[in-house]
C-alpha cells in the first residue's frame, strides 16, 4: 500500500488536503453561477465514432447497470465519458483509452465471435473482469489509491471504470435515485441511525 497516497486521500475526504477539480469555462472574471451551467451529463462532444459511442455506452452500463434504480445510460454517463475523453484526458491517456476500446472488441470477437455490444450482461462482466485481472498489478488498485489524483499510467479498464463511477454518482440520477440527495439539511445530527441498506449522501464537505 502507498501510505502517503492513502494519507492524502483520507484527508481529502475531510477537506484536509486539496479537493481539486475544475472549470474550463469558469474564468476568474466570469460571474455566471456554476449552477446555471450545463450538467456534466448533458455536454455534447465529438470524441467518438458512432460505433465507439455505442461500445462506450454498453461498457458503462455493464459497469453500473440498471437495476431497481437507474443505470449508467439512464444517468447520462456516456455523454460525460465522451466529454472527459475529449477534454480531460491527456494525449497519452487518450491513446490508451482508444487502444483499450479496440482491444476489448478484439477480445470479444476472439472469445465469443461477436461484438461486445451483442453479449449478455454476464458475458460482458466476464470480459471486463478478465481485463481487470490482467491489470491487477496496476497502482490504480493500491489500497486507498482513490479520490483525487488520476493515475496517468492507469490501464484502459481502470480509466473507464473510474470515470464511469465518477460520472454516475455525480449525475443527477445517481445523486437523487441511487444515493441520497439532501443538499440543504438545515440541521446537523451526528447520530442518525444507519440502516444496512441505506445509501450515502450525494454531497461531501469541502472544508
Amino acid at each position: 500500500m502507498d501510505r502517503r497516497r492513502f494519507l492524502i486521500n483520507a484527508l481529502t475526504l475531510s477537506g484536509g488536503v486539496a479537493a481539486t477539480s475544475v472549470v474550463t469555462r469558469l474564468l476568474a472574471e466570469d460571474s455566471s453561477p456554476l449552477m446555471s451551467g450545463p450538467a456534466i451529463t448533458e455536454l455534447k462532444s465529438e470524441a467518438f465514432t458512432v460505433e465507439q459511442r455505442k461500445l462506450v455506452s454498453v461498457i458503462a452500463e455493464t459497469i453500473l447497470p440498471r437495476t431497481d434504480t437507474p443505470g449508467a445510460i439512464d444517468a447520462g454517463v456516456p455523454a460525460f465519458l465522451e466529454n472527459m475523453v475529449a477534454e480531460w484526458l491527456t494525449d497519452d491517456e487518450r491513446a490508451v483509452f482508444f487502444q483499450g476500446l479496440d482491444q476489448l472488441e478484439i477480445l470479444s470477437q476472439a472469445t465469443h465471435k461477436t461484438s461486445f455490444v451483442d453479449l449478455t450482461q454476464g458475458e460482458r462482466e466476464d470480459l471486463l473482469e478478465q481485463l481487470e485481472s490482467d491489470a491487477s498489478d496496476s497502482d490504480w488498485y493500491a489500497f486507498g489509491n482513490v479520490v483525487r489524483d488520476f493515475v496517468p499510467q492507469a490501464p484502459f479498464i481502470c480509466q473507464i471504470k473510474e470515470l464511469t463511477i465518477f460520472g454516475f454518482f455525480s449525475s443527477e440520477a445517481g445523486a437523487k435515485d441511487v444515493l441520497r440527495h439532501n443538499p440543504m439539511p438545515g440541521r446537523f445530527d451526528g447520530e442518525l441511525a444507519l440502516g444496512t441498506d441505506e445509501s450515502s449522501w450525494s454531497t461531501i464537505r469541502l472544508m
Binding site: 501510505r3 494519507l7 481539486t20 477539480s21 469558469l26 473482469e129 443527477e172 441511487v178 447520530e191 472544508m207
Partner: protein, 565 residues
C-alpha cells in the same frame, strides 16, 4: 462611493480581508472617513459566490482536478485544501502573481486577492492565545518579548467574538481560554465514543468541539448555519464570518467608508519633516493609472507578507531598508505552523451516520509543555484538529468487480470510519526565516517580487517526532483498528498561518511595531495583520488578528482625537 484623489481621508486601510474589514468597521464606526484599498477585484456578497450550492452534476469534470489548468495557472493555489472548481475564482492566478524562493526551500503562499481576501475561504477555526503564549518568548528567550499580555487582549477578544459569532464549548482551560460562545455544534456518535475513551485512557487530554466562526444562532441579520457543507464556496446567508458577511456591511452602514477595489498599493510615501506617512501610492490594476491618496493614519492589513512587501518597497533616504525599519528586523522572523496529518481507522458506531454536513471538526488543545508539566525535548507545543469522516464511493471506487454488485457496494457508506488528526505545532521565531524584495524580478505592476526564504529548524523537527508518537498514543487510547502516522513536516506556508516579519516588541531596536501595532518609527502607521506577530502559539491565529486590530483602531482614534497623530 467613488474614491476621490483630492479628498483627504481620515484613514486609509490597505486590504479588505479579515483585518482590513475589522479596521474599516472600527474606524468608520468611530466617525473616521475611511478609504479601503483592495488590490483584487470586487466580490459582492452572495452575487459573486458563483460556486455556492452547486449540485454535484454541475461541478465540471465530475469534480476531478483540472490538471492542465492547475499546473499552468494554479500550481501553488491548487494545493490548498479549499481549492476546487467551485472556489478557484477566489484564488490568485499563480502565473500572473509570481514570487520567488530558493530552489531547495519551497514556500507555499496561498493568496486570494479580491474584496474579502482570504476571509472568504478561511478555515474559520477560532481560538484565543493563552497567557502562556504571550509569555513564551520571554520565558525561553526565542524571539522578542511580546509588548502585551493576555490580559491586555482579553476584553478585545470578547468584543470581536460577540460580533463575529463563534460557536464552541466552554471548557475552563488556562491553555485555551474560552471565548464568548454561541452553542457548539454536536458531535458524531464516533466522536462521543472516542471522547469517552480518551477521558478514561488519557485524562490529561480535553476533546472539545471545534471553536468556529460559524453561527449556530442568528446574529445581526446573519442566519444560523444550514449545514450545506462546503463553506469556501461562499455563504450568502452570512453564516460564517467573512468581511462580506460581517465587517464591511457594518462599515458601509456608517456612510463613512469608501471601498476601492483594483487598487494595488505600490508604496507608502514618507514625509521626514512631519515624520508621517504622507501618501499611499496606488496603481489601478485595470487602467494602470498611478494615484496617491492621503490620510492622517494608515492601517496596513494587506496580509502578513503583503504588508511587509509594501513596507520593504517604501524605501526612502530616511528609511533605505524599508519604511519603519530602523531596527533592521523588518522581513525577519517569519513563522507558520507545522502541520502533520495522521489517519486512524475505526470500526465503531458503524450503525450511525449523520444528517447535515458539519463544517468543523473537534479540537484537542495543547497538553504538552504546560506550566508545571514535565518538560519535553523541544520548546512550545501543539494542538490537534480532529475530524471524523464516514467514507463513501469516492473512497472505494477502485474495488474489483462490475455490475449490480459493484453498484450496490458503492452506493453505501464504507464499513469503517476515518478519524483524521491534523496536528498543528508552534514554530519558533527565527531571524533566518525572512522575506526580501527580489533584486531584479518584478511583477506585472513593476513592483519587486517577494523572495521568501524559510525552513523549519531543529525544534520543529524534534516536535514532529513527538507529534507522531502522540498520534500513536491517541489512536491507541481512542480505539483505532488501524493507523497511519508520520513525521513529515508541511511545506512552509502550506498551513496558511504565516506570521511575523513586522513584529511587535517593547524595544524599537529589535522590533517594528509597539504594543499598539503602531510603528515605532512612524506614528501614523499601523500594521494589524499577521505580520505583527512576535510568536505563533499553536492555535489558528485569525481571531487574535481581529482582537489586535480592534484594539489598535481604538488606540489610533484616541490618539487622533488627542491631536497626537
Amino acid at each position: 462611493m467613488i474614491a476621490d484623489q483630492n479628498k483627504k481621508y481620515d484613514a486609509i486601510v490597505v486590504g479588505s480581508g479579515i483585518t482590513g474589514g475589522w479596521a474599516a468597521k472600527e474606524l468608520t464606526e468611530k466617525g473616521l472617513k475611511v478609504l479601503v484599498l483592495e488590490r483584487g477585484r470586487d466580490i459582492q456578497h452572495g452575487l459573486d459566490y458563483v460556486g455556492e450550492h452547486t449540485p454535484p452534476w454541475k461541478v465540471p469534470f465530475g469534480d476531478k482536478a483540472d490538471r492542465s489548468s492547475d499546473q499552468s495557472e494554479y500550481p501553488v493555489q491548487s494545493k490548498c485544501y479549499a481549492f476546487d472548481a467551485t472556489t478557484k475564482h477566489f484564488f490568485n492566478n499563480d502565473h500572473k502573481n509570481p514570487y520567488q524562493y530558493p530552489e531547495d526551500k519551497p514556500f507555499s503562499w496561498i493568496r486570494a486577492d479580491g474584496v474579502g481576501g482570504r476571509s472568504l475561504i478561511w478555515g474559520r477555526q477560532s481560538y484565543r492565545f493563552s497567557a502562556q503564549d504571550f509569555e513564551a518568548n520571554a520565558e525561553d528567550g526565542h524571539g522578542a518579548d511580546w509588548p502585551i499580555r493576555y490580559d491586555d487582549l482579553k476584553d478585545w477578544y470578547s468584543y470581536v467574538e460577540l460580533f463575529a459569532g463563534i460557536s464552541g464549548q466552554a471548557e475552563g482551560l488556562d491553555e485555551l481560554p474560552d471565548s464568548e460562545f454561541q452553542k457548539p455544534m454536536p458531535m458524531y456518535a464516533l466522536e462521543k465514543t472516542i471522547k469517552a475513551r480518551l477521558k478514561e485512557n488519557m485524562p490529561e487530554l480535553t476533546m472539545t468541539m471545534g471553536r468556529t466562526a460559524i453561527l449556530t444562532e442568528h446574529l445581526n441579520g446573519r442566519a444560523a448555519c444550514h449545514y450545506c457543507g462546503p463553506c469556501p464556496r461562499g455563504c450568502s446567508t452570512g453564516s460564517y464570518f467573512s468581511s462580506q458577511s460581517s465587517t464591511l456591511p457594518a462599515a458601509r452602514a456608517t456612510g463613512n467608508m469608501t471601498l476601492r477595489p483594483n487598487s494595488v498599493v505600490e508604496r507608502l510615501e514618507y514625509d521626514p519633516k512631519s515624520n508621517r506617512v504622507s501618501g499611499v501610492r496606488v496603481i489601478d490594476a485595470e487602467t494602470r493609472e498611478v494615484i496617491t491618496f492621503q490620510a492622517r493614519v494608515v492601517f496596513l492589513c494587506a496580509s502578513t507578507l503583503g504588508s511587509t512587501q509594501i513596507l520593504l518597497n517604501s524605501q526612502s533616504a530616511y528609511f533605505p531598508d524599508g519604511l519603519g525599519n530602523s531596527s533592521g528586523t523588518l522581513g525577519h522572523y517569519l513563522m507558520d505552523h507545522i502541520k502533520i496529518q495522521h489517519v486512524g481507522i475505526f470500526a465503531d458506531r458503524l450503525d450511525h451516520y449523520y444528517e447535515g454536513f458539519r463544517p468543523t471538526g473537534t479540537y484537542i488543545p495543547r497538553y504538552k509543555n504546560l506550566p508545571g508539566a514535565k518538560g519535553e525535548s523541544y520548546l512550545r507545543g501543539f494542538g490537534i484538529q480532529a475530524d471524523a469522516v464516514r467514507p463513501d464511493w469516492r473512497f472505494q471506487f477502485n474495488q474489483k468487480g462490475f455490475g449490480a454488485g459493484l453498484k450496490d457496494s458503492l452506493r453505501k457508506p464504507s464499513p469503517y470510519w476515518v478519524w483524521n488528526l491534523g496536528i498543528f505545532g508552534e514554530t519558533l521565531p527565527d531571524h533566518r526565516n525572512k522575506v526580501t524584495l527580489h533584486e531584479s524580478k518584478v511583477d506585472r505592476f513593476g513592483i519587486p517580487q517577494l523572495h521568501i526564504d524559510m525552513a523549519y529548524g531543529d525544534n520543529e523537527h524534534r516536535m514532529a517526532r513527538d507529534i507522531e508518537q502522540s498520534a500513536v498514543d491517541i489512536f491507541r487510547a481512542a480505539g483505532a483498528v488501524y493507523m497511519m502516522t508520520n513525521t513529515e513536516l508541511s511545506v512552509p506556508g502550506h498551513t496558511i498561518h504565516e506570521m511575523g516579519t513586522a513584529r511587535m516588541g517593547k524595544d524599537p531596536n529589535t522590533s517594528v511595531l509597539n504594543g499598539w501595532n503602531q510603528s515605532h518609527d512612524v506614528p501614523n502607521l499601523f500594521v494589524t495583520d499577521g505580520a505583527c506577530m512576535a510568536s505563533s502559539s499553536c492555535v489558528n491565529p485569525s481571531l487574535t488578528y481581529m482582537a489586535l486590530t480592534a484594539r489598535a483602531c481604538d488606540y489610533a482614534v484616541k490618539q487622533i482625537k488627542a491631536g497626537v497623530i
